[in-house]
């Protein structure tokens, strides 16, 4: 829209993460959504989800976050950013509030889920989860060495075995029309897989604490950081296999 080209985005010179309110020139914290002085919505900026919720900026983003507080903040901001509130505001304020609403929803959805939050953090840390495996294949292809699997071979064996058992149970169920013995086999498998998944979740939480401690420890080095980061990566990789088992057993029970 040609009439909007003179938007004073971020208006004033931002000094060290701080900026000035576009409307009243009051000083603002870097990620303030509203001016504390005049209450106007501020231009939306491309900030990460942790920063959006003031949960620490790079490189000190914490993983173990207070969920009830996050939820309260989400509802508070949802109300303040609701389109009805901006019905009479200027076009650009409407625009900013819309953009912020959508950031808010994305940020909340990602951060409230432990796995999505961890994945997101790793992404911000520069880990490309989807590319690890193909990168390792490339190394194997050129060196002629065996490819390093990103999860331990014992886990693959176990997962493969469990998949075999599950498939057999599923086939029996299809033929045996709800034989109670098969259903109870499946239910046992289900609770076993769910326990495995729960264990991984508690393990994940212990790594969150390790991560949070590492990033805030005064003497911690880059290699400490990478060590904890890689533990998180490793855990998410292992978890995808177990998650599939839970999904498949549930499907078998429902089907």
């Amino acid at each position: 829209m040609a009439t909007e080209t003179n938007i004073p985005t971020g208006n004033a010179v931002a000094t060290e993460g701080a900026s000035l309110c576009w409307s009243c020139n009051a000083a603002l914290a870097g990620n303030a959504h509203f001016c504390p002085n005049c209450g106007k919505v501020q231009p939306s900026t491309p900030i990460d989800y942790f920063e959006f919720f003031s949960l620490g900026a790079a490189p000190a983003r914490k993983l173990d976050i207070d969920l009830p507080a996050l939820e309260r903040e989400f509802y508070r901001l949802s109300r303040k950013l609701h389109p009805d509130v901006f019905a009479r505001a200027s076009t650009r304020e409407q625009q900013w509030s819309l953009e912020k609403s959508s950031q808010l929803n994305d940020a909340y959805r990602t951060l409230k889920d432990p796995i999505a939050r961890t994945q997101y953090l790793l992404e911000l840390e520069g880990v490309k989860l989807e590319e690890q495996s193909s990168a390792a294949t490339l190394v194997a292809r050129t060196s002629g060495e065996e490819k390093k699997q990103v999860v331990p071979p014992e886990l693959l064996e176990e997962v493969f075995e469990l998949n075999m058992q599950l498939q057999e149970m599923r086939m029996n169920k299809e033929m045996g029309e709800d034989d109670p013995a098969i259903v109870s086999d499946l239910q046992n498998a289900k609770s076993r897989f769910e326990t495995m998944l729960d264990d991984l979740t508690s393990e994940l939480k212990s790594y969150w604490n390790e991560w949070d401690a590492t990033i805030s420890a005064p003497g911690s080095s880059e290699s400490d950081r990478i060590r904890v980061r890689d533990k998180l990566v490793d855990l998410l990789n292992r978890r995808s296999y177990i998650r599939n088992l839970v999904r498949d057993v549930n499907q078998a029970l429902a089907g």
Binding site: L129, E130, Q132, S133, S134, T137, A140, R141, G144, E146, K147, Q149, V150, V151, P153, L156, E157, V159, F160, N163, M164, Q167, L236, N237, S240, Y241, I242, R243, N244
Partner: protein, 139 residues
């Protein structure tokens, strides 16, 4: 997700599903996984010790349609090849043949990994048996 006809064909009629005797010295087993999605694939080969030709190949895949099609195709391709030629198969060949979209590339990577792992396992068995002192030169 729209699958190509070739994928659907392999998916509906997978070739060479099954198991070979893991303990046999002529059999190599590769078990690999895709951490991206948590799918697992096992591919086995039976190699003629004289000719180094892959005489049989079987697979079992717990995964998506593209992974099943990729492994099915892989077994078809490697059967009758000698191990060195089988090692030359790249995931991009599979992508091309099955017209896999970018999000399904990792499924073809899984199949390449499985071939490599199976051949690697077989080679390990060979060198282990060669290390055994009593084997006479077979000619």
């Amino acid at each position: 997700m729209a699958y190509s006809n070739k994928v659907i064909d392999h998916y509906n009629n997978p070739r060479n599903v099954g198991t070979l005797d893991k303990a046999s010295s002529e059999v190599g087993t590769g078990l690999v996984g895709a951490p991206e999605c948590g799918d697992v694939m096992r591919l086995q080969i039976k190699v003629n010790p004289e000719t180094q030709i892959i005489e049989d190949a079987k697979f079992k895949t717990f995964g998506c349609g593209s992974a099943i099609a990729s492994s099915s195709l892989a077994t078809e391709w490697i059967k009758g090849k000698n191990v060195e030629d089988a090692l030359a198969i790249k995931n991009t060949d599979i992508v091309k043949e099955l017209a896999l979209p970018p999000v399904k590339i990792h499924c073809s990577v899984l199949a390449e990994d499985a071939i490599r792992a199976a051949i690697g396992d077989w080679k390990k068995k060979q060198s282990a048996s060669q290390a055994a002192p009593v084997t006479a030169e077979a000619k």
